[in-house]
């Protein structure tokens, strides 16, 4: 059974239909890229998968790891192993980054019937991950995303993923706003997450990220539908020819 199975998904916001019948199947061990021009529904798809209020699913189904995803609250989805990496991670002033990391990890452990993690092993694990993301320990004691640069915010998202080890990582425009060094660090983090047990979805506007994280599948989203799917060569075509040609071809 697929890890994530989206069938004929229709969703609207404020009565306006954005997703108009999406079918997508993702297995553990696979990396999928979802590409598309602005306004194609990429972020809406991410928010629907994340369970954000205000998005109404009018038709279709989503099954995640055997659960009916649409019946689950946002936090239940996270605990079940679907983790959303944000395009614009929000600031939570006064809440230390390390505190959020610990609470999030313990929420997951609690759901698994495990005790809270002891501080010593937690700190050890977190420090290693921080170093691996080319970040400073001081970063752990700053407010969540407060005053972070664009690159720091995205690194922080990957850091959370590495710690929380989701079954499916859904990364929304993780490459936007990154300089080349940060892009390498972030890509490296994503590549370390790759594994047989885990699915990864990269939602992106540009092909750039895909030079560093090679997808197994590429899908082109346009006007709320996946109009074309292929392997990584599709991404290269998009880069070389732009969306227009592929759109025309598909229609």
């Amino acid at each position: 059974m697929a890890l994530l199975e989206i069938k004929n998904l229709h969703a609207e916001i404020d009565g306006k239909e954005i997703l108009k019948g999406i079918d997508l199947s993702i297995n553990a061990g696979e990396v999928h890229a979802i590409m598309g021009p602005n306004g194609s529904g990429k972020s809406t798809l991410c928010h629907v998968l994340g369970g954000r209020d205000g998005y109404e699913v009018t038709k279709g189904s989503i099954t995640f790891d055997g659960h009916d995803l649409l019946e689950m609250e946002t936090e239940e989805r996270a605990i079940a192993g679907l983790l959303l990496g944000f395009q614009h991670p929000v600031e939570i002033p006064g809440v230390k980054n390390i505190y959020l990391l610990k609470e999030a990890l313990n929420a997951k452990r609690e759901a698994q019937g495990l005790d809270e993690i002891d501080t010593f092993s937690f700190m050890k694990q977190v420090r290693e991950l921080v170093a691996s993301m080319n970040m400073d320990d001081a970063f752990l004691h700053r407010g969540v995303n407060a005053g972070f640069s664009g690159g720091e915010k995205k690194r922080n998202e990957i850091l959370q993923m590495l710690l929380l080890e989701p079954k499916l990582a859904l990364l929304d425009e993780t490459d936007s706003g990154l300089d080349i060094d940060a892009l390498k660090v972030v890509s490296d983090g994503i590549n370390r997450m790759r594994g047989e047990e885990r699915g990864i979805i990269l939602v992106t506007h540009y092909q750039r990220l895909l030079n560093y994280v090679e997808p197994d599948f590429v899908h082109v989203l346009y006007k709320g539908r996946i109009i074309k799917s292929g392997d990584k060569s599709l991404a290269h075509r998009l880069e070389a020819e732009g969306y227009q040609e592929i759109l025309e071809e598909a229609s």
Binding site: V90, P93, G94, A107
Partner: protein, 490 residues
């Protein structure tokens, strides 16, 4: 479901400390006249000067009108319908020494402590267990039932006792300092308190002494329909320092209860007083019925040069809060600080803030106020920064932040700045923000429940104030905020 509907559904929490302890009460019949004042004084075997002081306060109170300027609304209080004294009958002699061990105390009271969630180590302190280091002067309604650690404190020369005991054993200190910060006729509620105050705490730290432990008091209202009039006086002599913690919670009931306390702090040269409060009086039910009226006068005077007074408060309970812990900075180079978290849910009304009165030169004050409103609560910050003519190079920094949860609550800010000396530097920063959907979604998508996510945002908002609380209190304060805002998310 709309956000509003979700709020409606979720803004349903019950007061967690809803219970009344079934101890027989000795209550003076309702009503207030000079005879009642005399009766209270007589019951407490007070010396003549106390009676005269009370009577003078009562005469002033009779001529005063209840203030109406605060941003709060409540039905008129009938002061003749209140009873002004209640004492537990369980102790055979009211003026007896507080029991050495809790075995001598009514087990019902111990149960009460348990329900109140007084931390184990403090219960141990109450029980006189060796090694426990927080002294607790527990005020059960109007009369102190038990006081611990007096001996250990006495070694250091610190006096920490009930107000009644202070009147009996240290009348000269009481007479010297009582009413010197908050005069009898200061305001309507202070005058009422001065006339009929039942009991409270007294702390005296002599010259050069650092109080060896944090002093802690738990207040409870327990008698039906009995106004509570606590009186606290803390004096730190030259170079002395003390940290005082006050926390309280009250049993659930229908009638509104009036609480009009007075707290006076006196800091002489180089002395430092830190006064921390976690307040959780019964706030009324979710329709706004019942709940405590908390009309409190708290003021500290930095009487000496280089003295310092810090107020830190977490105000979570009460139907109505009217409270402005203030500092009069008389001494040169003295420092006043006010750190406050005031949270209102359901129909709570809060009008709170501070006054910093700069009289000495180079005096400094800091105000950090965090107001949180949820449900239909109204939360007002009211603050005065006064720089007197005589005060050269005074400085004030004020930061006043409001956080709104939902769309039916209110946040108001009434800052008053009076600078009569041109060398003053006064800064005021104010923000109003909402707990955003983005923040909630972000945290929930990390696996946190709605309530945990809300608590995290709120605690982050309050962090600067919590940092000022003593460690154990900070933990309690966070727990209290969680309870207070339970069900306010959506």
């Amino acid at each position: 479901m709309t956000e509003t509907q979700e709020l409606e559904q979720l803004v349903k929490r019950e007061y967690k400390y809803g219970f009344t302890t079934d101890i027989e009460q000795e209550i003076i019949p309702p009503g207030l006249d000079e005879d009642v004042v005399r009766m209270i004084s007589a019951k407490k075997n007070e010396p003549e000067f106390m009676l005269e002081w009370r009577l003078s306060a009562f005469r002033q109170w009779k001529k005063m009108a209840e203030p109406e300027w605060a941003h709060v609304h409540y039905p008129k209080i009938d002061y003749q319908a209140l009873s002004y004294y209640a004492a537990p009958k369980t102790q055979e002699e009211l003026d007896a020494e507080a029991p050495e061990s809790l075995d001598d105390v009514d087990p019902k009271l111990l149960e009460t402590y348990e329900k109140l969630g007084i931390p184990l180590h403090e219960r141990a302190a109450l029980a006189g267990v060796k090694g426990a280091n927080v002294a607790v002067d527990a005020v059960f309604d109007s009369v102190s039932v038990t006081t611990t650690f007096k001996e250990k404190l006495a070694e250091a020369g610190v006096i920490f006792c009930s107000f009644s005991e202070a009147v009996e054993n240290h009348p000269e200190l009481v007479q010297k300092y009582l009413g010197t910060v908050v005069p009898q006729g200061d305001n309507f509620f202070a005058a009422l308190n001065s006339a009929v105050f039942s009991d409270g705490s007294f702390v005296y730290v002599p010259k050069g002494v650092t109080c060896p432990m944090e002093l802690s008091t738990y207040f409870r209202i327990n008698a039906q329909n009995t106004g509570q009039f606590e009186r606290t006086l803390i004096v730190a002599e030259e170079g002395a320092s003390v940290s005082y913690l006050e926390g309280c919670t009250a049993p659930q009931r229908d009638e509104n209860q009036l609480h009009a306390a007075v707290v006076e702090l006196v800091a002489l040269d180089d002395a430092e007083i830190k006064y921390s409060t976690v307040q959780n009086w019964y706030p009324g039910d979710e329709e706004g019925k019942g709940g405590i009226y908390n009309f409190v006068t708290k003021r500290g005077e930095c009487r000496g040069d280089r003295s310092k007074i810090t107020w830190t408060q977490v105000e979570a309970g009460s139907a109505i809060t009217w409270k402005y812990p203030s500092c009069v900075l008389k001494g040169d180079d003295s420092v006043g600080e006010f750190y406050s978290v005031a949270v209102g849910n359901n129909y709570q009304q809060i009008d709170s803030g501070t006054k910093m009165v700069h009289l000495g030169s180079r005096t400094r004050s800091t105000i950090v106020s965090k107001g949180i409103s949820a449900g239909r609560a109204e939360n007002a910050y009211r603050g005065l920064v006064h720089i007197g003519k005589t005060s050269k190079d005074a400085r004030n920094f004020t930061q006043c932040d409001s956080l709104l949860i939902g769309d039916r609550c209110g946040a108001h800010t009434f800052p008053y700045i009076e600078a009569k000396n041109s060398s003053a530097q006064v800064e005021h920063e104010a923000t109003t923000s909402k707990v955003s959907d983005d923040q909630m979604f972000y945290l929930r998508s990390r696996g946190l429940s709605e309530e945990d996510a809300m608590n995290m945002v709120v605690n982050g908002f309050c962090k600067e104030v919590f940092n000022e609380l003593p460690m154990e209190f900070a933990v309690e304060a966070q727990a209290l905020l969680a309870v207070s805002l339970e069900g306010s998310v959506g």
